[in-house]
């Protein structure tokens, strides 16, 4: 479901373009003059050492931060600043580095909350919880149940997510983002703190989401094996600057990237 006036981006074209984006907090420059694009249908990895500005970049894309300079074009619309609400409405969903779930709510309710923007029945009908509002509730519940099946989390549907182990919380968070039926999915370290088996599961889900639903994915990840396997293209940040951009193989051989990760002898 996309807004009627927004242009349809063909596969392979740039869905999102970041142009000369800088971001400063007081005297600290988190990002300086970063440009790259994310093409429709690809898995784009953003990597770099700790503090390189990866999460700041995601925060700019979904409107949590406003770039001090430069602009971001999403689906052909160019913006200097975007509000998180507008980003979500435009089809950008995300997960967080340190899992941000609604801990007191069940898995089901978390996913249903992800569909907030798709539900339109008025306050009045909801107050009655009858008629159109009820039909709407049922229709969306069906979509959510499909996502639950897809992520194989049927067993924890009614468990408050605060009680779940970390790996499952990450999966629920992915589910909530998927419930938004996003065009662009931002994943901030989806495999951080996971064991090998959980990582393999999560990698499979990321690939499936990309292939089955055609969702464009931007992904921050530290596990180089995962990044090289999953992504179509990689952008490398260091100290808030872009130091490399290209296919995983090219990036892997880039001397500046090797230096950034291993350190240079001075």
């Amino acid at each position: 479901m996309r807004a009627p006036d927004s242009p349809v981006v063909a596969k392979g074209d740039a869905l999102l373009a970041v142009e000369n984006v800088s971001l400063g907090f007081g005297g600290v420059k988190a990002l300086s003059d970063v440009s790259f694009d994310i093409r429709k249908g690809e898995i784009r990895a953003i990597i770099g050492p700790n503090g390189a500005g990866k999460t700041s970049m995601l925060n700019c894309i979904n409107g949590f931060y406003h770039p001090t300079d430069g602009c971001i074009t999403f689906k052909g619309r160019r913006r200097a600043r975007m509000r998180p609400h507008a980003a979500a409405r435009g089809g950008i969903a995300r997960t967080f580095q340190n899992v941000a779930l609604f801990k007191g709510m069940t898995t089901l309710d978390n996913l249903m909350a992800g569909r907030s923007l798709k539900m339109h029945k008025s306050f009045f009908w909801q107050l009655l919880r009858h008629g159109p509002a009820m039909e709407e509730e049922i229709a969306h519940r069906r979509v959510v149940e499909d996502i639950i099946d897809f992520l194989e989390i049927q067993a924890i549907r009614k468990v408050p997510v605060g009680k779940l182990p970390y790996g499952l919380q990450k999966r629920v968070e992915l589910g909530r983002a998927l419930a938004m039926e996003p065009e662009l999915l931002l994943l901030d370290e989806p495999m951080a703190g996971m064991n090998l088996e959980e990582k393999e599961d999560m990698s499979r889900f990321v690939l499936d989401v990309n292939q089955q639903f055609g969702t464009t994915i931007a992904l921050i990840e530290h596990d180089m094996g995962v990044v090289m396997d999953l992504s179509d293209r990689v952008v490398v940040l260091e100290y808030g600057r872009k130091i490399a951009d290209g296919k995983p193989d090219e990036v892997k051989r880039d001397q500046r990237v090797i230096d950034a990760y291993l350190g240079v002898a001075h």
Partner: protein, 362 residues
Amino acid sequence: MASEAAVRRPGIEPRMVAWLFAALGVAALVVILAIAARTGAIGRGNLVYDVVVDPFVLMAQAPDLLVQTLWEGLVSGVLYALIALGFVLIFKASGVFNFAQGIMVVFAALTLVGLHEKGVPALVALVLAVGVMLVLAIAVERVVLRPLVNQPDIILFMATFGLTYFLIGLGELIFGGNPKQMIARQLYLPQGATDAAIFGGRVRFQHIDIAAAAIASLMIATLAVFFSKTRIGRALRAVADSHKAALSVGISLNQIWVIVWFTAGIVALVTGIMWGARSDVSFALQIIALKALPVLILGGFTSIPGAIVGGLIIGVGEKIGEFYWGPLLGGGIESWLAYMIALLFLLYRPQGLFGEKIIERV
């Protein structure tokens, strides 16, 4: 591990045993006291008798009085629950303890009565009062909450103090400080009373009390369902849990805050009408809103069922306490008993009956 599980018999926990012993102890005490009272070992004038036996003898001898007391306690309990609900809604959604809830009750009722005094028909005045509460909600969100977002809770709490005094000033400026009569008749609220014969006595039910209990219960039920089962309700809980995550799924914090403050305003208006009809509309009315504090401590700040149960316990508890135990202390215990109960609760169960358990990781 396996052997330990086998040794422990299922269903019997140390906690249950403790409760069992406590219950047995109380039962034994009752029997002993009953025998002592029968044989005349203790009687009127003895402190133990006056405190532990006499009130119950009175209850048994005049059940109609007991019913009357319970009914009055129930009515104020439901109204307390309604006020507490106003607090809980705002606390859940924005983490703010809204000190201004009490004055919102007065302000809403004053607006209604004041407009009617200026010649506006009662029902139109009611609609306008609802409109004023909506404007207030939007103004609070714009002027107070939005600029103070991400500030420590204590700052927001102090801001609600400011709001309280602002509303007192505004109310006095527009409508004057004199107590007013609630326009109960013009709003088609029932008048008069019915006497019912119960247990050989007569129990008096004020019609306005019946209406208050019914309307408040209906409102509580609607709000409880609304906030647990619908999209906006889910969004509200989502905002309460994590602002960041709520923003990322496209929930608008500003919109939720307006909805919540508006709902709290409506709750204030209904409370103001009902309580105003039982006494009158004056600034003293905000004191009853403070009664919501012990209710919240009892029920837990984050729980809607807690607000309901807490309200009933406090309402019934203080009426029973006043009627049966009050004379021992020269009466008037109604005004402080609720706070004493709350204090005891704070010592033993600071999260309240239904609140989320407070776990602080160090």
